[in-house]
Each structure stands twice: as structure tokens, then as C-alpha cells.
Assembly symmetry: C2
Homo-oligomer: 146 residues x 2
């Protein structure tokens, strides 16, 4: 688990760096907030040990990983009130298990396309929430997962 050298891969960006602004880290996983001007409500749940695919994890660990994803998603819904939350584990560039969680709004730059798709409109003049909500959300994630 978390402390063994064998669980780290040299040259893997997510073995060597947090992968975003660290919100909370426990022995198995961490939550980071992503700085994305187009999509400010953007978090990642990153498995600490180096595994490439979701199905590389044993069932108990998969369950704890997805419990964390569901918890962060729930808190995002309460605090950011998105119209939809998008979840994705891609890893084509960094094949180390990490889940993207993105709060989506009907007037965000890409909606209803995925954030990796074609931009649909300019950034709204008024963000859907103020930055204080992200700090409060960070704090709630820390309380629940710390």
C-alpha cells in the first residue's frame, strides 16, 4: 500500500506529483482541485499506488475508490449545484488511475458537449458560483475524507 516503493513508477507524473491542488490525502487516495478557468468546479480522485486501469484494483479497493468518488460528487452537488456531474477515468496520457469529476452548467463553455469536445460558447461573464464555495467544498471534503 501507499508507503512501498514498489507501488511507485519512475517517470509517472501522478506517482511523482500531486496532480492538482491537494485537498486531502489518505493512505489509499487523494483528492485534488484542478485549476481550469473554463470549468472551475473540477476535482480529481487519484489512487496513490500506481495502477493503470480501474480493473487492476481488487474489489474492496475499487469500492473504496468509488466511495470517495461518490462522496466528492455528492458534496459538489450540494455546494456547487451543477446541472450534471461528469465522471471520467481516461489516462491516455498519464496511465495512473485517476477520476475526473467536473461540475457542469447549461451555460458553461462546452455544455452539453464533454469538456474535451468542441467549445460551444464564450466563458460566461458571471461564473456559476463564487470562489468561496470552492473553499468551503474543499473543507467539507477534508472533513469527510481526512
Amino acid at each position: 500500500m501507499g508507503q512501498l516503493d514498489t507501488t511507485r513508477r519512475a517517470g509517472c507524473e501522478l506517482c511523482e506529483q500531486p496532480g492538482g491542488m491537494l485537498v486531502v490525502r489518505n493512505t489509499e487516495l487523494r483528492v485534488v482541485r484542478v485549476s481550469d478557468a473554463l470549468h472551475p468546479g473540477f476535482y480529481r480522485v487519484i489512487w496513490n499506488d500506481h495502477v493503470a486501469e480501474f480493473s487492476d484494483l481488487p474489489q474492496a479497493e475499487r469500492m473504496r475508490c468509488m466511495d470517495a468518488v461518490a462522496l466528492v460528487e455528492s458534496l459538489m452537488r450540494v455546494h456547487l449545484q451543477p446541472i450534471k456531474v461528469n465522471l471520467a477515468s481516461l489516462g491516455n496520457m498519464v496511465p495512473h488511475l485517476h477520476w475526473h469529476l467536473i461540475a457542469r452548467y447549461s451555460d458553461d463553455p462546452h455544455f452539453p458537449q464533454p469538456i474535451w469536445g468542441m467549445q460551444q460558447r464564450e466563458v460566461p461573464a458571471e461564473p456559476s458560483f463564487d470562489a468561496g464555495k470552492l473553499l468551503e467544498l474543499d473543507r467539507q471534503i477534508q472533513l469527510q475524507l481526512g
Copy 2:
């Protein structure tokens, strides 16, 4: 559960249609294969009842949903030998819980971008696997989830 009218929403595409070529269906969920000329190794795990977000499911159901996702992913890895599997629950257009599972290859039209991103190259002349592999994979999914 699956048979109650209250779990269906009128006008929801995934309450009213399979959402792809049906591979297998049980009381809680179904697996469909997606016909995508650019990405032939493309399946969906669709929760039968109408819920919009992953975190709308109680933990036991979330776990069974992700057990199915992990199982299909594992079988895709064995039968299609992708370089990476991409998983995503988006639902911006159809907010009914469904997971996309996409086998990715270094020479596929979008790699390393998500399949919703900018196309990187033409479709390879030789697909990464022959169509018989999909039929065998369908059969294995049926055996394990039927």
C-alpha cells in the same frame, strides 16, 4: 427495482430504448455494444432504473454497477488488448446513469485525446482487431452477467 413504473421517466431515451445493441440485461443493469466506426471496441453499462447521477445510487447498488463496469473492462482487456480503457459517465444529453467503456489504441483516430476531442489522424486501414473478437467478447459478457 427494475419492474416498477416509478423507475421510468417518460421521454428519457434510456428508459425507453436499449441505448445500443443489447448484449445482456439483468434486473439492475444492461450492457450494450455501441456501433462506432472510429472506435469499434465501445460498450455501455446502463443502469435500468432512472437515476441521473452515480451518487444517486445507494452504496450496494453503486458497488454492483461498478462490479459490472470492472468485469466488462476486464473482458475488453483480455479480448481486445487495448493500450488503455476509457471510462466515463457524462449524461449531459441523456441524464440517465450510463457508463461508456472504450478500448483505446495508439493508432486510433483520437489517441491520446478523449474520443470526444479533436481527431488526430485518419481511421487506420487495418482495424486493431477483427469483428469476430467482438462477438466472442459479447458471448463472454453474456456468460458472466446473464
